[in-house]
């Protein structure tokens, strides 16, 4: 035993290898391996008549994804929802995270962290179905708005074309609300982490040099929170892009990318199309990261 210890101590590379190979093997085969096996399917196409996969490389499936109007609709619908959810999460999370880090007492801060994370410890499905009830036509939210005399306002909002609907639970507005609720912690936590790294003295220096609070926020707090905002938005953006349960439980009947992947590989048995659809969020996130990088979101890292 002792000799083995000495042997490994003298050969750090061996030691490192011994420690790293099992997890890397697991990561490589289970995560990346299965992902690439799925993605590899996208270069094949299905034979329309036999419904069997033809194993000869072709771009036909990709062409189908990006040219068929129904598919373009799905992509644009998912993309718009992801962008809207990301922006909303950022707008809501920024003041909350800033308050948590900057103004709350240590006790209140701990409560805030628990409050932010508590919903994440609950079953995802329970939350989604709960929201369906909350947003239903006879649900608690419309009842609340009615008692506050805001029933007419809700009606007016639901009459908005495209995003409205017969009730909140059957409209894109409702779906948007559920998405924002679900992913908000994923925005708050990285933002709070980024803001916590900003020393108090920087904010004091800003005020000392004559900046009013709004200027300090715009010129110091926000730029330094940007890496956190970028990290959080990658979460909210990609989680919305890939989700298929929320769109199938709450909201209008239009398809989303995740639902399409689920349906194509399951019911329809069109693995190549499902694979090609899975590539779409990956490409969109890469584009998003490139834009964020160009905008300087990672400069302060």
């Amino acid at each position: 035993m002792r000799e083995l210890s000495t042997f490994l101590y003298r050969r750090p590379t061996m030691y490192l290898l011994l420690l790293l190979v099992p997890p890397l093997l697991w990561f490589g085969t289970v995560y990346l391996g299965s992902l690439f096996t799925l993605l590899a399917q996208s270069i094949y196409a299905i034979d329309e008549f036999t419904a069997k996969v033809v194993y000869s490389p072709t771009l036909a499936t990709y062409k189908q994804v990006v040219t068929q109007p129904a598919n373009i609709d799905i992509i644009l619908r998912t993309l718009s929802m992801s962008v809207a959810v990301t922006i909303a999460c950022g707008l809501i999370a920024l003041p909350i995270a800033n308050y948590m880090v900057r103004y709350a007492s240590p006790r209140a801060r701990a409560l805030f962290y628990v409050g932010v994370m508590l919903p994440m410890w609950m079953s995802y499905l329970v939350k989604v179905y709960a929201w369906r009830l909350i947003l239903a036509k006879q649900g608690i939210l419309s009842w609340l708005l009615d008692t506050m005399g805001l029933g007419a306002a809700l009606e007016a909002v639901l009459r908005i074309p495209a995003i409205g609907g017969p009730s909140l639970s059957a409209s894109y507005i409702g779906m948007f609300i559920v998405f924002v609720y679900m992913w908000l912690p994923f925005m708050i936590l990285p933002l709070a982490a980024a803001l916590e790294k900003v020393p108090e003295s920087l904010l004091q220096a800003s005020a000392d040099l004559g900046a009013r609070p709004v200027q300090t926020f715009r010129r110091v707090t926000l730029p330094l929170a940007l890496p956190g905002l970028a990290a959080g938005s990658v979460f909210t953006f990609s989680l919305t892009l890939g989700d298929y349960i929320i769109p199938s439980v709450v909201g209008a009947p239009g398809y989303f990318i995740g639902m399409m992947v689920y349906q194509q590989q399951g019911t329809a048995g069109n693995i190549p199309l499902a694979a090609a659809f899975s590539v779409v969020p990956i490409v969109l996130i890469m584009i998003y990261l490139a834009i964020a990088r160009r905008a300087g979101a990672f400069d302060a890292l």
């Binding site: 004091q204 005020a207 010129r219 330094l224």
Partner: protein, 342 residues
């Protein structure tokens, strides 16, 4: 003439702790004023009260005769050099320096020119494009100084600005700060726990202890005529003599202080000078400091005296363990305030 800064009976309390306890003081325009004290003595809180990062629980703060007690930092005509420099990491050095003029809506060509001038003033003219993280500690210090001075404040506050620098750099910066202050004629308020720094740079020094000012005087008076035992030992670590020993040496029980360099070492047989006090003890330790040596002498009653002798060789007879007589003239025994407050 109105004072640059005036504190009227200012207190700041954190829970049970009176960080600043009914402090009143005035700082004259163009003065180099030091706030000296150990950590937790309230000196930094006082500085933050001037800057506006803290508001007093009672009393008022005046800048140039105007009551600014409730004014936020951005409405006060003072600027601060922070202990950690507090440079904005996401901006270039030039943008850091230009921050003040920019938030005040100056045009780009104006703030660029001003910031460049300020950088040249602190000898960093070629560093404008760099990031703060690419600078050394001393350079960051200068950027921080340039950034604070660009607004041409009436008062510049410096919070232990030299604490993070090494000894040689610190001495250079001390000279430079002093020159800068003379040239610009701005009031400098300098917080430090280093008594040497305070004595060598300031026109007047306020010595803080437990939230109060123990003594406010010129460096020379502070050193030669300390008012309390705390000041005597904190500034230049004098020997403080109290109680029975004081009674025995001076004939009165009032405490007094003797500077180490005013003490002479004599052999037991030598006759005492007229008008001097003396006592006998054993040499416990000798430290050689080049220009002088420091001697620790333990009296039979247990007290330890420090004596600093300019010429170490002349006292070659005295070794550790030798029995010696300490002697100083009565004029060098500085009476201290009789009781320390609770």
């Amino acid at each position: 003439m109105t004072c640059a800064i005036e504190f009227r009976d200012v207190s700041r309390v954190y829970g049970e702790v009176r960080a600043v306890d009914r402090v009143s003081l005035t700082v004259e325009p163009g003065e180099f004023f030091a706030m000296l004290g150990p950590s937790g003595s309230g000196k930094t809180t006082c500085l933050r009260l001037v800057a506006g990062f803290e508001t007093p629980d009672s009393g008022s703060v005046l800048l140039n005769g105007r009551d600014v007690t409730d004014d936020p930092p951005y409405a006060r005509d003072v600027n601060t050099v922070f202990q950690d420099y507090a440079l904005f990491p996401h901006m270039s050095v030039l943008e850091n320096v230009a921050y003040g003029p920019r938030v005040r809506g100056q045009r780009k060509q104006d703030w660029q020119r001003r910031a460049q001038e300020m950088l040249e003033l602190v000898q960093l003219g070629h560093f404008g494009e760099r990031r703060p993280s690419q600078l050394s500690g001393g350079q960051r210090q200068r950027v921080s100084l340039a950034r604070a001075l660009i607004n041409q404040p009436q008062v510049l506050l410096l919070d232990e600005p030299l604490g993070a620098l090494d000894l040689k750099l610190r001495e250079e910066m001390q000279l430079e700060l002093k020159n800068l202050q003379r040239r610009l004629g701005i009031t400098f308020v300098f917080v430090t726990h280093d008594q040497g720094e305070a004595l060598s740079m300031a026109d007047r020094v306020a010595v803080f202890n437990r939230g109060r000012i123990e003594q406010l005087d010129t460096p020379r008076t502070l050193y030669t005529r300390p008012a309390t035992a705390f000041v005597a030992s904190f500034v230049g670590s004098a020997n403080v003599v109290t109680g029975e020993l004081a009674q025995r040496l001076s004939g009165r029980s009032d405490p007094f202080a003797v500077r180490a360099e005013n003490i002479r070492l004599r052999t037991l047989t030598a006759t005492a000078d007229a008008g001097s006090m003396s006592c006998i003890g054993d040499v416990a330790d000798v430290q050689y400091h080049g220009a002088m040596s420091r001697w620790q002498v333990r009296l039979d009653s247990g007290e330890v005296f420090a004596a600093a002798l300019a010429d170490a060789h002349a006292n070659g007879d005295f070794k550790v363990g030798a029995r010696v007589r300490l002697e100083w003239s009565r004029a060098d025994a500085v009476p201290l305030a009789a009781t320390e407050r609770p």
